[in-house]
Amino acid sequence: MHLKQIHIHYQEANIITGFELHIQPGEIFVLMGPSGSGKTTLLKGIAGLVPIASGELCWENGIGTVGMVFQEPRLFPHLTVLENIAFALRVKGVPRKERTEQASQFLKIMQLDGLEDRYPHQISGGQQQRVSLGRTLIQKPDLLLLDEPFASLDTPLRLELIDWLYHFQRENRFSIIWVTHFLDEAFSVADRIGIMIAGSLQQTGRPAELYQKPFSEKIAAFLSLPNRFTREQWQKYFQCDLTSLPTKERGWIPANSLKFIDKRLILETRKEENPIGFISGIVTKIIPGNGGFSVIVKSGDCLLEINSMEWNTIPGLNKEVTIKIPFERIIWYHQ
């Protein structure tokens, strides 16, 4: 599917401006962006639920079919789980017996067998979202639009459904435009990620590329990249002129690239080949996580985040620490 110069207006405001995108068959394209950036409007435009003011939506092989799963399940409360799943077949005019058979098969695929006679209010939130997915997938769409469908579910259930859908998609090879605000969700399923800000696509790329080459500070900020500073700030830390080195206006460094260092070893460390910077600061917060500990250090007006796997290397709260910054690990990007 190809979106060419799509513009969508709402009343007099331009919500989507000049949107260009090419989705490959069998691709998962994750669309991210701050709230109000127009992600849902774009999906609704593709789905035909809101009018496209100008631009073109075309398919490489004739006309494609689109299915959409919304953030809330939007199940029909007067229909059973089976009837909800069979709804698309019913409106197509598939005879009752045939559609019941197909829907029953789909119930098994969706791991919903045994719930066919229940009404939406009689099943859990996760099951409701499964039904919502099922009734869309039974249409066998060429392109599936997902508008944060798992956002309201608890983390284990969300991860389970993401994993299930990912494998289902890989087996059936339909394309997905997947809107989410969860970075873990995006990076675990995406073939490509697009960042949308103020109605237009600011950057697209493979998941790793976004971290390695953020196009701008806006994107770096949206991705919550830690330890982002201007070149001038970095120069202060390195106490040297960085303009002769391959740098750009801004740079960020992964939290696990920073190390605590004994102040007494600074002179010795400076002898290394690459420039090395040092920052002194006070530990203000220690956040435990499943990947170790994040230590927040305040240095002047700046906050730094340092990751450490081992508890015994973590300095105590309010302790003064020195941090070693390896220049070669800084990822530079434009303002």
């Binding site: 609704k44 789905a47 035909g48 639920l49 689109v66 299915g67 959409m68 919304f70 809330e72 939007r74 199940l75 029909f76 409360p77 007067h78 709804f87 698309a88 019913r90 409106v91 197509k92 009404y119 939406p120 209010h121 919502s132 009734r135 869309t136 249409q139």
Partner: protein, 268 residues
């Protein structure tokens, strides 16, 4: 805690009985009056009972059956008009935004708060223009003006509650506008449509002035038949007619309750 719940239940039962008595008690003297010509104060029961009023009711000049027929035909036509006009109008008012929406809403509901005489005068003009129409239809048109606001007010909230999200979902599953209405919206609206229909029929059955004006007094529905007796002070006949008039209302209520029970057999 249990004691409190029991006390609350007893209080509720007491008020339910009180309410039932309040509604039911007036029917007792009405039933007695329909079998007597005289029941002077302070007698507890009339001295002489007779079925004369009921006999008259079902005689050719009493027109109980034909009056009821006319009333029911007009009420059904009024209901059809409400369903055809009221459902799409309410859908637009409840779910879409457009310029002048509030004005349209006020106009549609205006018969609820504009003095009745003003509506009747307008209706009189309408009747003169629609003289070529069948009296059933012209009377039903008059009743439509009176009942439409009640119908709209009854189903508006349900439409509003439903919103457009469920329509979007159905549309994404391939349903066109008609299928969205028939397979999704109508079943969800059914309880409020049934209630609105009950209201429309009952209000239509009890209309006197619009019926009289729109038909020029030629279509004799039950209220038109009863009115002269009521103004002449014939308590016995009026009581018999009132009880007879209550019959279709009771039947409608029973049909409504049965339909509600039938449609709510699915516990959604």
């Amino acid at each position: 805690m249990v004691r409190k719940i029991l006390l609350l239940r007893k209080t509720n039962n007491f008020f339910m009985i009180l309410l039932s008595l309040f509604l039911f008690l007036p029917f007792i003297p009405l039933a007695i009056w329909s079998f007597t010509k005289q029941w002077p104060w302070p007698l507890l029961m009339p001295e002489k009972m007779s079925g004369e009023s009921w006999h008259y009711l079902f005689s050719d000049s009493g027109m109980a059956i034909s009056g009821l027929n006319n009333s029911v035909i007009v009420a059904v036509l009024t209901l059809i008009g409400n369903l055809i006009l009221g459902i799409p109008a309410t859908k637009v008012l409840a779910q879409y935004e457009f310029k002048g929406k509030k004005i349209v809403f006020i106009i549609l509901l205006s018969p609820l708060f504009i003095p009745y005489t003003v509506s009747i005068m307008g209706m009189h003009d309408l009747a003169l223009r629609l003289e070529f129409l069948n009296p059933y239809i012209s009377v039903a048109l008059g009743h439509l003006i009176v009942t439409l606001p009640y119908f709209i007010a009854t189903i508006w909230f349900q439409f509003r509650l439903m919103g457009q999200k469920i329509q979007e979902a159905a549309s994404m599953l391939g349903a066109n506008a008609w299928k969205i209405f028939w397979l999704i919206e109508f079943p969800l609206l059914r309880p409020s449509i049934l209630l609105g229909s009950l209201l429309v029929m009952i209000i239509s059955l009890s209309q006197y002035l619009p019926t009289w004006i729109m038909s020029g007094g030629t279509l004799l529905t039950l209220p038109v038949i009863i009115f002269p007796y009521a103004s002449s002070g014939s308590s016995s006949l009026v009581s018999a007619y009132s009880l007879w008039f209550f019959l279709p209302v009771l039947l409608l209520l029973m049909i409504y309750l049965l339909l509600i029970k039938f449609t709510a057999r699915r516990k959604y």
